[in-house]
């Protein structure tokens, strides 16, 4: 919990071992590869991580709440397709650069609406979020193929694709967007009533109900947030590529969940932080980037990432076992 341990830097590190890990790999790659320690490479890492990162912020809320959303990858594809397709409609032909707006709005609305639907089903039926969003993952992906007729869309407006590669000063726009979202979600989670109740519902649902907290709406809001952020990721991704393909975002849910869990959020809910998730996202970004620069073959990168995930969680368990009378199992 963010509120329970917050004293010495060392204590903080024990609660967030991922940042220690980041420092370690950062130093390692800085010495191991001459191209790693460079402003442009850091910009690269931030842009590369921003897509998964934005979704991971929302996923953190949903997972602390005791749920999960597997449909985010499909939502990315849907949002990207909607965004690129709609801005090309002849209806908006003489809107100039403003034609981008309806595409973006439609994409974000679709993502939020799908999140609301997921949340509503979980709330009203009591079916496990894993199952509900597994269904949504398959169903939405199907919708994308129906909608796109298995075709890719290309953005005709170059302003749209320029946005994806633009910068604000030294900071790439997409990276800035990600960091702003991170700050907002951090404050929502740690400082607002909704954030507090998110922890309470995930930590002990019946205690939350007994405290008069309306569990359902909180879950639904979090699903809407993750849906919105997944759609936003779809928009930025299509902007980066200047196109949308129906297969976009495949396996993203796995990368997102990996980052969130790496950042210390508990699968069963009740605990987790945005600073942790940011760490998880950056750790994966740095590892992929660093190994890429060292020309480690892509399949080995996956093997290494998988092993590191397990190793870091093991370390986390060791660090956080102390002080508690945990049973040996």
């Amino acid at each position: 919990m963010s509120h329970s341990v917050l004293k010495s830097p060392l204590g903080w590190l024990a609660g967030n071992p991922i940042w220690g890990f980041i420092a370690l790999i950062f130093i390692f790659f800085s010495f191991a590869n001459p191209y790693f320690f460079a402003l442009q490479n850091f910009q690269n890492i931030l842009v590369q991580t921003s897509t998964i990162g934005v979704i991971a912020l929302g996923m953190t809320l949903v997972m602390i709440n005791g749920n999960i959303d597997l449909s985010v990858g499909a939502v990315v594809a849907l949002a990207a397709s909607l965004c690129v397709d709609i801005q090309g409609w002849s209806l908006f032909a003489d809107w100039g650069n403003w034609a981008i707006l309806p595409g973006v709005v439609a994409a974000l609305l679709a993502g939020t609406a799908l999140g609301a639907l997921n949340g509503l089903i979980v709330w009203k039926t009591g079916v496990d979020a894993f199952i509900v969003t597994l269904g949504a993952m398959l169903g939405v992906r199907g919708l994308v193929f129906v909608y796109t007729k298995e075709q890719s869309f290309f953005a005709m407006n170059f302003s749209f694709s320029d946005f994806g590669s633009s910068s604000i000063g030294p900071i790439p726009t997409l990276a800035a967007l990600f960091l702003i979202c991170t700050a907002i979600v951090h404050f929502v989670l740690s400082r607002t009533v909704h954030g507090r109740n998110t922890y309470a519902v995930g930590g002990n649902r019946s205690a939350a109900v007994n405290a008069g907290i309306r569990v359902g709406p909180h879950m639904m809001i979090n699903f809407m947030i993750v849906g919105f952020l997944a759609a936003l990721a779809g928009v930025t991704l299509s902007s980066q590529m200047g196109a949308a393909t129906p297969n976009l975002g495949t396996n993203y849910e796995l990368w997102v969940i990996t980052s969130v869990v790496l950042g210390g959020t508990k699968l069963k809910g009740g605990a987790g932080t945005i600073t942790g998730t940011l760490g998880g996202v950056l750790a994966i970004g740095i590892l992929r980037n660093g190994m890429n620069l060292m020309q480690v073959p892509a399949f080995y990168v996956l093997v290494i990432l998988g092993s590191i995930l397990i190793a870091v969680l093991l370390l986390d368990k060791q660090l956080n076992r102390k002080g508690k009378e945990e049973l040996r199992l």
């Binding site: 341990v5 009533v193 922890y199 309470a200 939350a208 109900v209 008069g212 508690k324 009378e325 040996r328």
Partner: protein
């Protein structure tokens, strides 16, 4: 109470010597040593946090002690797992049930040691006949093929005990075995304990309940702050001496008698029913009054509380607050109408254990403590401080996770949480379950003080001394119905027991 002659073989069934177990920052056990003879019931007492549970886990092979030795029948042993401990003849009957609810009774009894045939197949025939034999010995009225989840809590406890009897146990440890049992079920349990004793097992019996200890035990050992404080022989001591040893001071257990000044009727319930859970329940509750609900587990007391708190929908009847009929649709609604419920199980229903003390106390009202879009830290800390002082909650800081507090302090957090909501009607379900003697009387005093301040309080309890000590009036329930209501002048242990057993039927409204 047949302790006139205790068999005294040369080597005790169990001997502990200089057991030390430390956790970072805590010396949970500090040089603990005593012995348990074969054929003896040895009570182990101590306040919550005194080290009893840690000691039991050491005995059951769940923890390895840092220092010290364990001897079983004179032989030094090290036990690295519960199965190993069991193989040595040491079995622990857990306070909290640890059963696989989806599996059968027999599978649970032999969990981890199912009888096998060739190719690793389960020998179902042997399994069920062995299991049934144990159930018969315990006089259990259910079949070994029954799914555990469908049994009552008391019967699940029996399964837990049956599990311990698959080996010829040399040492049997009971950890708060009666916490969820009714008086009738306790009698059965005590028979079983006496039977084990007669077969020559050494029994370690952990309980907070003095009456049980003085009924069952031959000797009583006391732990305090992780240290061993001495062993008393039951026939040569009394409750006061034991309590003094436990808490390091004397305790006032005299019954409260001062008549309460009650005000106007706060809550009226007329003919309230909820399916078959409870039927035709009527009572009224005044300001400044403590109304006790006493009855066996399953008599419908908790369900009434849950209905008043909006967790269940009544099938018939009326609820009136200040003479106005109300419908309570949800806990949020109940809170708005001034009703608060301190639930039966604080860990499952009352607290978010991973959350800190302050956030738990402000949980129901955090929505009102905002400054702009954010929760106001200052307002929250102010509320925490108020109840930290008023209820004398022992915690190093508000940042402490509630899960790390003792049972008594956890309960104070739950009570503080509800007092902070300024309720008029406070329902407390099993206020002192699993809480040590010292904190118990603090909680009782607290309930009386609250009534004195004008709260209308309902106390639901399975402990007769508690309900008699704390209540102004007592409602006795049996099978979902109110059998009788007593004033403190009328009530005696005898007529109360009669009423909750369904013997006395002349209902007094």
């Amino acid at each position: 109470m047949s302790a006139s002659h205790i068999p005294q073989p040369d080597t005790p069934a169990l001997r502990l010597e200089g057991i030390v177990k430390t956790f970072p920052g805590v010396r949970a056990l500090d040089d603990v040593g005593f012995d348990v003879r074969a054929g003896e019931v040895h009570a182990l007492l101590g306040e919550n946090g005194a080290g009893k549970s840690t000691l039991m886990k050491v005995l059951a092979g769940m923890y390895e002690p840092d220092e010290g030795s364990i001897y079983i029948e004179g032989e030094a042993v090290t036990m690295r797992s519960p199965l190993e401990a069991k193989a040595r003849g040491v079995v622990l009957i857990h306070q909290e049930l640890s059963l696989a609810e989806e599996m059968s009774v027999a599978e649970n009894i032999y969990l981890g040691e199912l009888p096998r045939k060739s190719l690793g197949r389960v020998d179902w025939k042997t399994l069920h006949s062995n299991a049934q034999a144990i159930l018969d010995r315990l006089k259990c009225g259910f079949d070994s093929k029954r799914q555990v989840g469908t049994l009552s809590i008391a019967n699940q406890q029996m399964v837990e005990i049956a599990r311990a009897l698959t080996v010829e146990a040399k040492v049997v440890v009971f950890d708060e075995p009666t916490a969820s049992l009714t008086d009738a079920e306790k009698v059965v349990l005590f028979d079983i304990i006496n039977d084990l004793k007669a077969r020559g097992a050494g029994i370690v019996y952990i309980s907070h309940r003095m009456d049980e200890i003085f009924t069952l035990a031959d000797r009583i050992s006391v732990l305090r702050d992780g240290g061993y404080r001495g062993t008393l022989i039951k026939s040569e001591t009394n409750e006061d001496e034991v309590i003094q040893l436990m808490i390091g001071r004397a305790l006032d257990l005299t019954r409260r008698r001062a008549a309460a000044k009650t005000g106007k009727v706060a809550l009226q319930v007329e003919g309230l029913s909820c399916g078959k859970l409870f039927e035709d329940v009527s009572f009224e509750l005044r300001e400044g009054e403590v109304l006790g609900f006493y009855g066996l587990v399953g008599a419908g007391r908790t369900e009434i509380a849950e209905t008043l708190f909006g967790l269940r929908k009544p099938s018939a009847g009326r609820i009136l607050i200040d003479g106005t009929e109300v419908e309570i649709s949800s806990p949020a609604d109940a809170i708005k109408k001034g009703i608060s419920l301190v639930p039966e199980s604080r860990k499952e229903q009352g607290l978010v254990l991973g959350m800190n003390c302050r956030d738990n106390i402000t949980l129901p009202q955090v929505g009102d403590l905002t400054k702009g879009p954010f929760v106001s830290d200052g307002a929250e800390i102010a509320i925490f401080d108020r109840y930290y002082e008023a209820l004398k909650i022992k915690t190093p800081s508000w940042r402490q996770a509630v899960g790390n507090l003792s049972g008594g302090n956890q309960q104070k957090i739950v009570i503080g949480k509800w007092l902070a909501m300024n309720p008029r009607i406070l329902i407390v379900d099993e206020p002192t379950r699993g809480i040590d003697v010292g904190s118990k009387s603090e909680i009782h005093d607290l309930i009386r003080t609250l009534a004195g301040e004008g709260y209308a309080v309902i106390v639901i309890s399975s402990e007769m001394p508690e309900v008699m000590h704390v209540s102004d009036r007592i409602v006795a329930m049996f099978h979902g119905r109110i059998m009788r209501s007593f004033t403190t002048e009328e009530v005696t242990e005898d007529n109360l027991v009669a009423a909750i057993s369904g013997i006395e039927t002349d209902k007094v409204a």
